[in-house]
Structure formats: C-alpha cells, structure tokens
C-alpha cells in the first residue's frame, strides 16, 4: 500500500501490483535492512552567488589559441567548470567549426600534470615551488644582469602578445624576441615578398575559386587555419563545381581529399611551377599583363615539359593536363606552403608557385590571392621596437654567444622543435620558461613560470587573414585560472617591472585597451583621409563618441572585424627591389640522387592530432587515430608498398631511421600511397615529459634533422629533404606494436573484404 499525495496534493491510497509484490517482500526487507547501508552523498553549496541557475549551462565566447588561426568558440560552462568547446556559428574564421586540436584545449586546461605554481631550481638541482615574487626576482635579476646576452623566444602567434614581447625586449634592452612560428610561415612571407612585393602571408580565397593548385600547402591538414580552409574547400568542391589539385611529395590528408594528387619528387615543387608556367605561356591562354608581370620576375626560359616530368618524377601527361585545366579555369588559384617551402630551395619554390598567380591574373580578385593585411596591433603594442626574429635566429644566437646567457622562453618548446639546441641550453646561465607544462624546455629551465591556457585568460588575437579581411578578436576569461597561473602577457610585464624597466601598462588587458584607445585617437585625427598608418578604417570607429566608449564597445563585441572592402592586392610598388632576390628554381641543381637502396628522403609532417607536438599531452588526441595511417598513441614511419617489399618490412616492424647526427627507432606502417624513396614521419612525439600522456610516447623526428640546414634566403630551418637510411630491425615485441585502429585494413588488401555499402535507398 502506498500512501502519498497526488498531483494536486490530496492524499491518495492505491493498491497496485507493486504493493502486492511488497507483501511477500516484507519478510526479506526485515532481513536486509540490517545489511544495507546507504552511502551518503554530498551536495555542495557554492561560496559565491551566481546569476546562473545551479547545473545550468552557460555558454561563454572565447577564442581558440591552440594555433594562430583565431577560431571563435563558445565554451559551455556548468557551475563554473568548462565542459565543452563548440565553434561560434558567427565566428569570423571558423563559422561554427572547431578542429580536433581545438576541442582538446579542455584537456590542456584540466590536465592533471599542469604546472600551477612557480618553480625554481633549488640547491639540490631539482625544481621546487616558490612564490611568484621569488621566481620573478630570480628571473629578472638574471635578465637585468645581462640584457644583451638574453634571448627571448615568444611562442605566441603574431598579434598583440608578440608586440608586447617586442616592447619588452626594447624596454629591457635585450635583442628582439625570436618569434617561434611554423618554418613555412617565414618562407611564405619571403616568397610573397619576392612574387608580389609585399612581405605578408598571402590570403587565399578558395571558396570562390574554381580551380586550386596547392603546391605543398596541406590546407586540409594542420596548416594556417584548417577549419576555415576546410569549409572553403567544401564550398569550392560543392556540386563538383571546383577542383583541388595537390602537388606534394607526401600523401597528406589534403592530397587524400584532392581531386588530383601529383606526388612530385621532394624538392622539385618549384621546378614544376616553372614547368607549368612554360606550358601556360605556350598555351596562349595567358593575358598580356600577366605575361609581362611574370616575365619581369623570371626572364629566363622555363623548362620544357620533358625536363619537368623528369625532374619531378611524374608522368608528363599529368602535368600537361594540369596546365590545360589551369588555363581553362575561370578563377584559378595557386597556393604554396608546407613541405614545398621547407626544403633548402623553399623560397625559390614558393616564389615560383605564387608567381603563377600573376600569370593567371589571380592577384587581388575574387577567388584569388590577397595581401594578408591586419590592423597592426602587434606594432601598436610594440611601439617602435624592432621586428621579431625568425625561428632559425635562435640557433644562430645561441651559437654566437658560445652558449652562455639567459634564455626566456614563453609558450614554446624549442628544445623539442629544433635539433641541436641541447648543448646551448645546457650551457645557458639561466633558462626561464613561461609554460603550463613541463615540456622539454621547461624541464631544463631554472625558473618555470606557470601561464594560463586559452580559456583562463584575457585574449586578444589577430587571426591569420581570412580571404584577406583583417580582424582583431578579443575575449574575456571563461573560467577561473588554475592555481597561480598568470597570463603570459602579465608575466612579461611583471618581469620587466622586476628587472627595473617597467612598461607603461599594469597588465596585458590594459595594454590592449590602451592600444585600442590610441588607435581610436589616431583614426579620429586622420579623419576621412586614411593617410596615417596608425589609423584604422574609419568605418570601424563610427558611432563611438570617445575612446573609452570605443574600447568598451570593441571588447563587448568581441573585437574588430573588417569588411570585404578592406581586402586588397599586395602592394606592387615595393616590387622594384624584388627581382634581386629571386631565384629561378629551374636553375638550381637537382637534389642529390639517392645513395643506395636504403637511402630515403625524410618528410616530417604535422599530423592533425599532435600538431607540432603541443597536442601530445591530451588523451583525446593521443587516442585519435591518424586519419590515413589510423595509428594512435605514438609515432610511426610511413613506407611505400614497393619500398617495404624491397626492405622486407611489414606493417608494424620496427625500423631504424639514421640521419647525419642521430637515429630513431619506430614502427613502420606500409601504405600504398607513399612515394617510392620517401618516408614520412609525424612530428610531435618523443617528449621527455610534457605530462603523463605524452611522456616518452613516440619518438622525436626532429632529432634526425640537420641543425645547420637553412632555407636559402629566409631565416628558417629546412626540415624537408633530409636523407635518412632505413633498416629493418625486428618484428615488434608486444609492447612495441603500433596501435593501429583500422586493424583490418592490411587484410583488406589481401582478401576480398566487403566494405561496399549497398544502395538501399534512403531510410
């Protein structure tokens, strides 16, 4: 019998089946009451009042800073904890999308092995927790003692934070900071300067093109802005309207999705671009203006088809077809990036590829190439401080100082990302790492300053230009910072203050607001004639009465977003001095021929899960199968079927890759898509620590690279085109076997396995 209250509160007595069961249950209940104990559960009353209802989802806008793309995100928070990241549908860059790396920022935030308090190397040689004051003082004393011998490495993407570090360097008196950025970004700028006369990373309008040739640019992998480019690709190829052709030695995810993949010999991308130019010039499909502009850059005769096919190692027919389709296309577009720019001839190759846009008249038009303009907030914060140095400058500086001095590394892990720096770090007097984790650099540091991750901090980001439209994105912190972590910008300001040369702002947010405020004033002063370079487009300040209101409105609106009218072609006036630096890739010698059957060209690549290594500490990403090799949890070497047969290697076998200075052992994955004579290895593995999920996982392929190889004409380290030897070592032990998700794929090639979906019509 259950007595109770009905819907309206009046007592209600019913006898149901369940009550009947209870009658004979009664005996058992008596017995069991003694045995069962109810575990007490607790419910917490929060300390502070909140506007949100308990357990209710609050969505907060934020910016993803996992890479420089600047995707706007919404973070779902419940009871002040971040639960989920989603793309902001109105996001300037991403339009609602997020990539795998972006999602995993949550696991960076709540990583169990994060550094949440300042650490200093004690007398025992171990890192010990200290107070912020002590840590800052130790760091500042070291910097102030030898500002000239101090090297700053800033990992922040270009934008206000990098500007702050530049200002820091100028104020404290150190050399300009080294900007830790993808190598191909530096090369791309230089190639763009040569081809278009303006040293900005070109912005591509894929979506409105109808024929895109990507020379090495892995635009659907981890390159620049994967979410934006992915969406643009979808638009390009929707209803088979446009086509993407990938010219790349490795079968990347982009190559896998491209309508056509030209697996050229590594290092011959520039030659192909010249060869294509030859075919285009000969086809008569090229306008006079384009021909003139192109021939001004490359007065020499382009190589003929046979030579191109020979050098690139691909079928002449395919090159011919590509040229014909390019000539036929209404809005063709050529992009350059990735491994094509990371070889020693990267600048020449990049310039040759980008110059095709001149020939095809795709510069500054719909579906073409635009200048990568921005609102200049990096410079606004930097003041008149010198420009940041390219990554390779770090190696030069460290070599020049004989390895002593002070190193300040903020949000970067050069020790993992660049070979040959170990000795210099070993000899440095003081290494100061601003990091959220014990990455390889922080592990060697004398002072570790914990920094906030994306969702904990005030953000001001100038995104990678999208279709050439500039923007500045601003967001407030989403969740409370963990432990004592501070904003890296605030750390820089505190360091400067402790070193006795304080910057004019108390914090990073104030710095950005003051820059906004100055920009308002300059724009107001310039009036309609936007002659002052410090002025913003006038439309952006329209409606704001004063600087304070403008700043307030900008931060509330999440930043400043430009319009399509602000796009422009690269400024051609500066081209006068260009041809001086330009090199015809066709005039460069071919890369050395392979020496022996074991000699392979190494192609290191950024997988979309580990990126440059920063993804390695997140279980979601470690356990994410690589889309092509389907490997999880570790590194692997991609070997072609033919080569594997020759070497006697089967999938899973442990192979040794020997470079000039080092060797690594890792499992081989045999794929039918690898160009014979080349071997692909993802970067991002082999961390000495970096938290429990990354520690000792995989191998660091960067150690195979030659530390002295440079991309000619750019301060970038050349990681493509290194030659390695491959030897098969053994069948893997159980614990060494690569973790392959699509375990059946190997068998699928051997037996007729039915994966074919059958047309059953719609549900």
């Amino acid at each position: 019998m259950s007595g109770g209250h009905g819907k309206r509160g009046e007592p209600r007595v019913t006898i149901g089946r369940r009550d009947f069961f209870k009658v004979y249950a009664a005996a058992g209940v008596a017995v069991l009451q003694g045995c069962r104990r109810r575990d007490q559960e607790l419910i917490e009353s929060p300390v502070r009042r909140s506007t949100a209802l308990p357990g209710a989802s609050v969505w907060r806008r934020s910016i993803c800073e996992q890479c420089g793309a600047g995707c706007e995100i919404e973070v779902r928070t419940v009871d002040r904890l971040a639960k989920k990241i989603e793309g902001l549908p109105s996001g300037f860059v991403n339009r609602g999308g997020v990539c795998a790396l972006g999602h995993s920022a949550l696991q960076e935030l709540y990583h169990p092995d994060r550094v949440t308090e300042p650490m200093r190397r004690g007398s025992s040689g171990e890192l010990e927790p200290v107070s912020w004051e002590e840590a800052l003082e130790t760091a500042a004393t070291a910097i102030a003692a030898a500002p000239d011998a101090t090297t700053i490495v800033a990992g922040a993407p270009s934008g206000p934070l990098l500007g702050l570090w530049r200002r820091f360097a100028a104020t404290v008196g150190t050399p300009p900071p080294v900007h830790w950025q993808p190598a191909d970004a530096v090369v791309e700028r230089e190639a763009a300067r040569l081809a278009f006369g303006e040293s900005t990373r070109p912005a591509y309008d894929l979506a409105r093109s109808d024929y895109v040739v990507s020379v090495g640019a892995p635009c659907l992998d981890r390159w620049r802005s994967p979410v934006h480019l992915g969406a643009a690709w979808a638009e390009l190829t929707a209803d088979r309207r446009g086509k993407l052709v990938q010219v790349e030695a490795r079968h990347s995810l982009t190559a896998a999705n491209a309508d056509d993949w030209l697996p050229v010999r590594p290092g011959s991308e520039g030659f192909l671009a010249r060869g294509l130019a030859g075919l285009l010039l000969g086809s008569g499909a090229v306008g006079e203006e384009g021909r003139a502009a192109y021939e001004a850059l490359y007065p020499g005769a382009p190589p003929d088809l046979a030579a191109t096919a020979e050098r690139c190692g691909i079928d002449a027919g395919r090159i011919e077809r590509l040229a014909a389709e390019l000539a036929r296309a209404r809005r063709p577009l050529v992009m350059a990036g990735g491994s094509a720019l990371e070889g020693e001839n990267g600048v020449a190759a990049g310039a040759a590829a980008l110059a095709l846009n001149l020939l095809l008249d795709s510069v500054g038009r719909e579906g073409g190439v635009f200048a990568g303009v921005d609102f200049g907030f990096e410079d606004r914060l930097a003041g008149d401080a010198a420009a940041a140095l390219p990554p390779a400058a770090l190696a030069e500086r460290l070599a020049g100082d004989g390895g002593s001095g002070v190193l300040v590394v903020s949000e970067a892990d050069p020790l993992h990302g660049m070979p040959g720096l170990e000795a210099a770090f070993e000899h440095a007097d003081t290494v100061i790492a601003c990091s959220a984790f014990f990455d390889d650099t922080a592990l060697r540091a004398d002072v570790v300053l914990p920094v906030q991750t994306d969702l904990e901090r005030f953000q001001a980001v100038e995104p990678d230009p999208v279709r050439g439209v500039p923007a500045l994105l601003v967001a407030s912190p989403t969740v409370a910072p963990r432990g004592e972590a501070r904003h890296p910008g605030d750390v820089a300001l505190a360091l400067a203050a402790a070193a006795g040369s304080a910057l004019p702002w108390p914090g990073f947010q104030e710095a950005v607001e003051s820059a906004l405020s100055d920009a308002f004033a300059a724009t107001r002063a310039a009036g309609d004639e936007a002659s002052d370079p410090a002025a913003l487009p006038a439309s952006l300040i329209a409606g704001a009465l004063n600087a304070r209101q403008f700043v307030r409105r900008t931060t509330d609106a999440g930043g400043l977003v430009g319009t399509e009218e602000m796009r422009r072609a690269p400024v051609p006036d500066a081209r006068a001095d260009v041809p001086v630096g330009i090199v015809d890739p066709a005039s460069l010698p071919a890369p050395a021929a392979p020496a022996g059957v074991e000699s392979f060209t190494l192609i290191p690549f950024e997988s979309l899960k580990l990126a440059d290594g920063r993804g390695a500490n997140r279980p979601w990403l470690q356990e994410l199968p690589d889309p092509l090799s389907t490997v999880m949890w570790g590194s692997w070497a991609e070997v072609g079927t033919e080569d594997a047969d020759r070497l006697g290697v089967r999938t899973g076998d442990i192979v040794r890759l020997t470079g000039t200075a080092a060797e690594i052992e890792l499992p081989a994955i045999v794929l039918p898509t690898v160009r014979p004579g080349s071997v692909g290895v993802p970067v991002g593995g082999g961390h000495a620590d970096y938290g429990r999920y990354a520690r000792g996982r995989g191998v660091n392929v960067n150690s195979l690279l030659d530390p002295d190889r440079r991309v000619a004409g750019a301060g970038a380290f050349a990681r493509s085109g290194v030659r390695v030897r491959i030897e098969r070592l053994r069948r893997p032990r159980r614990s060494e076997r690569p973790v392959i998700y699509g375990r059946g794929l190997r068998q699928a090639e051997e037996i007729p396995v039915g994966w074919a979906p059958h047309d059953g019509g719609k549900a």
């Binding site: 089946r17 369940r18 249950a25 699509g742 059946g744 794929l745 068998q747 007729p752 396995v753 994966w755």
Partner: protein
C-alpha cells in the same frame, strides 16, 4: 533362489568393496583438481575485482574463451543423460555399468557449462536481470533473446539431469546408509536415500520415475543444444547465420559426449576392473556409434561450408576464407583431422574399436570439438562486415586459468562423487546379473524377485 541371492550379495560386496578401497590415485587426483579449483576461483575473483577487461576479448571479438567453453561443456553434458536415456529406453544391457558415471558427467559438465555465461558477463553482480521475476522496477527480461531461452533450457536440463542422476541413486544411497556407522556420514546418506526401504511400491515408483524421465530428458537434451546453437544462428553475423546450426550442434554435442563416455568407460574399466561388464563387445558397439557420429558430423561440416562457398555471399565468404586459408586454417584443418580422418581411419577396423584406441580417439575428438567451437566463435567475430574493424583475439592468462580451472572443478566434483557414492549403479548391476543368470528379459518379473526375497539388510533385497 539361493544362488542368485548369494551371487547378488557377492556382487554387491565386490562392487562396494572396490568403491570403498582407498585408492591413492583418487587422492592425488582430488588434491590436484582441488588446486585447479582454487585457480578457477582465483581467476574469476580477479576478473570480478578488476573488470572483464582482464580477458583478451576486444572489439570486434566480443565473445571468446568463455563462450567457447560454455558451448564445449554443454556439449560434453550430452555424454550422460542423453546417451544413458537412449540406452535405457532401448534396454541396452551393457548400459548398466556406465549410466551412473555418464549421468554424473552430465550434471557436472552442465553445472560448469552453465557457469561460463555468468563468468562471461560484464556485470555478473546483476545477472539476475535475465531471470523473469516480478520486481519493483516493473521490468521483465526480453523473451525474444536466445540468451533467455538458454537460461530456461539449461535450467530445465540441469534439473532434469539432477533428478535423472538422483533417482537411480536412491537405492544405492540406502545401501550406503545401511553400511555406514552412525554419524554425519550416515545422516548424509539417509537424506539422499529419502527413506528408501525397498518396498515393491517404492521399486515400482522408482522404475516409473526413471522411465518417464528417460523419455522426457531426450527432447530436453536435444533442445538445449539447439538453443545454444541459436545464440549464434539467430544473429546476422556472417558465419553464424545458418539453418543447420541446430542439428549440427546437437550432433556435435553427442559426438563430444560419446568421446567423453569412451574415455570414462576405458578409465572405469581399468580403475574398477570391470572387464566383466564393459566387455570388448561394448566398446565395439559404442565405437561403431562413435564413427557414425564422426561421419554425420563430417557431413554437416561439409554441408555448412559448401553452402557458404556456393552462395558467393561476400561477407560469408570472408569468414570462410579466413577459416580455410587464412589465420584460422591450422586449427580448422587440425579439427578436420582429429574429428573426421582419425576416427574414421581408426574406428573403421574392429581392432580400432578396442578400449585403448577408442579412448585415444575420444581424446582427439575432444580437442577437435573444442576447436570446432573456437572456430565458430572467433573467426566469425573477427571478420565483421566492415573490414576496417577486422580484429584478432588472444586469450589472457585469466581466461586460460578459468578454462583449466574449470577442468579442475569438473575433476574435483567427479572425484568427490566417486569417493562418496557408488560410481557404478549397484542395484542395476545386480539386476543385470540376475537377468543374465535367470535369463529373464522381462523386467517386471525380474524386478519383482528381489522384493519378495528373504529379509536382507540390503534394501534391494528388503521387505518381509
């Protein structure tokens, strides 16, 4: 009257004496199997404490050794009840020394086989959700699921088998009761004997009880293995979805059951010196049945694979391929050799149908039938339709421990049973002896005789 009576007494004495004798082999066997029982429970406990993940099963091979052993042991269980029931119904005289041991095999094999699905469960603590009982959640199990039918069938079979073992045991338990000195042992036998006094009425009831059960248990036994086969055949899985799985499994079960029986008979014959009863002729006859089952099994296997091959169904052919040519070719062809080629080669000749060769062939068939179950469960699961998920399977030490431990549990139960109760049915032997002596094939007449005989402390000859 005197001669048979004296003969019966001598026979009782002889048999019971043999049973009473302390045999060191049995003791060692008990200890060894006891150790394996510990292994069994340690492994199971370890698995419950740590999670089902301590096994080697994975995606897509979600079922592994536990289900293989489940089917295997249920198959073994057909050694006893079914065969002994068939023999009883057909009044085969040579059944008398073997029925008890065969029925004990059934009960213990079933108990162990029935445990395996529980061991296999991810959350064994709530296994009772599968049992239909009224509950305050107002939920019932899903009667469409073959697993629920399994529970019903196995429960029925286990109860039937227990009764079928128990009924013929009553007169013997009474003998043991009367021979035992007062104490816990006597009370134990007294409970088992259910107050048996050997009256004509009791004999009559017992006879009828056994006769009804013998007839009833045959369809139950057939249904049990059919339903076990439906765990596979009712699915969509390529390699499992087959209409002949029911009879195929039943034949396989009887086949493996006979194999166990052959081994048990050979052991009994040696261990208890029963050459007088388990004659070469018995082995010859059973050997003929054995080779027949081997051929029938071979026919089913052929039919199964031929239809799959002929159908050309892509997914079915994939499974077929890995079986015949791929990763599972070695176990597959081993199975064909030990289940078909060797039995036919050996048992086709009269000299092959002697105790030792038949027992050895039986051992081979046991291995072969275990492999058969392995080859039903694993290749089909490891070759799913979407090739991306093809997987493999390697058992962990826990699964091996439980598998070996289960053999220990079986041996332990069997040894304990042999120590406590006559493994050869004393009264049935005497009845058989009397048939032989009196030449009477008329059961009723023959059985009436002892009840009217002079008073005897042995209940079989009791009554005043």
């Amino acid at each position: 009257m005197g001669r048979p009576q004296a003969g019966a007494k001598a026979l009782d004495g002889e048999l019971l004496g043999r049973l009473d004798r302390r045999r060191p082999g049995l003791l060692i066997g008990s200890l060894a199997s006891g150790a394996l029982v510990l292994v069994f429970f340690y492994c199971w406990g370890y698995q419950i404490a740590n999670g089902i993940g301590v096994t080697g099963i994975n995606r897509p091979v979600f079922w592994g050794f536990y289900i293989i052993n489940f089917v295997f042991w249920i198959g073994i269980s057909h050694a006893g009840t079914l065969i002994s029931a068939i023999l009883r119904v057909t009044k085969a005289e040579w059944r008398r020394p073997v029925t008890r041991s065969a029925e004990a095999i059934t009960l213990f094999a079933l108990a162990i086989g029935g445990l395996f699905p529980l061991i296999h469960l991810g959350r064994v603590t709530i296994f009772y959700y599968m049992i239909p009982y009224p509950n305050s959640r107002m939920l019932w199990p899903n009667f469409r699921s073959p697993l629920v039918w399994d529970i019903a069938a196995i429960t029925t079979y286990i109860i039937g088998s227990a009764l079928y073992l128990f009924l013929p045991l009553i007169p013997d338990a009474a003998v043991m009761r009367d021979r035992a000195a007062a104490g816990i042992k006597k009370r134990f036998y007294a409970v088992l004997a259910l107050g048996w006094r050997g009256t004509a009425q009791q004999w009559h009831s017992l006879e009828w009880g056994i006769r009804i059960l013998a007839v009833a248990i045959i369809p139950v036994a057939v249904s049990v293995h059919t339903i076990v086969s439906w765990d596979f055949a009712m699915t969509q899985t390529p390699g499992w979805k087959s209409t002949i799985f029911g009879p195929y499994f039943v034949v396989g079960a009887i086949f493996s059951g006979i194999a166990v029986l052959m081994i048990a008979m050979a052991l009994l014959r040696r261990g208890l010196a029963l050459e007088r009863f388990l004659t070469d002729r018995v082995f010859n006859n059973l050997g003929l049945l054995f080779v027949t089952m081997s051929l029938v099994w071979g026919y089913f296997t052929f039919a199964e694979h031929l239809t799959v091959w002929y159908s050309g169904d892509l997914f079915e052919k994939n499974v077929h391929h890995v079986l015949l040519h791929g990763d599972f070719a070695v176990p597959f062809w081993t199975m064909v050799v030990v289940n078909l080629l060797i039995p036919v080669a050996v048992l086709s000749f009269p000299r092959g149908r002697r105790p030792l060769p038949t027992a050895l062939v039986g051992c081979g068939v046991l291995v072969g039938m275990w492999l058969e179950r392995f080859l039903i469960v694993v290749p089909a699961l490891s070759t799913p339709r979407l090739a991306y998920s093809i997987g493999d399977y390697l058992p962990s030490w826990v699964e091996l421990g439980i598998m070996i431990g289960a053999i220990g549990v079986f041996a332990c139960l069997y040894f304990t049973f042999t120590q406590l109760l006559p493994i050869v049915s004393v009264w049935e032997m005497r009845e058989g002896w009397r048939h032989a002596a009196g030449g009477g094939e008329n059961g009723q007449a023959a059985e009436a005789a002892p009840t009217s005989a002079a008073a005897s402390p042995v209940p079989g000859g009791g009554g005043a």
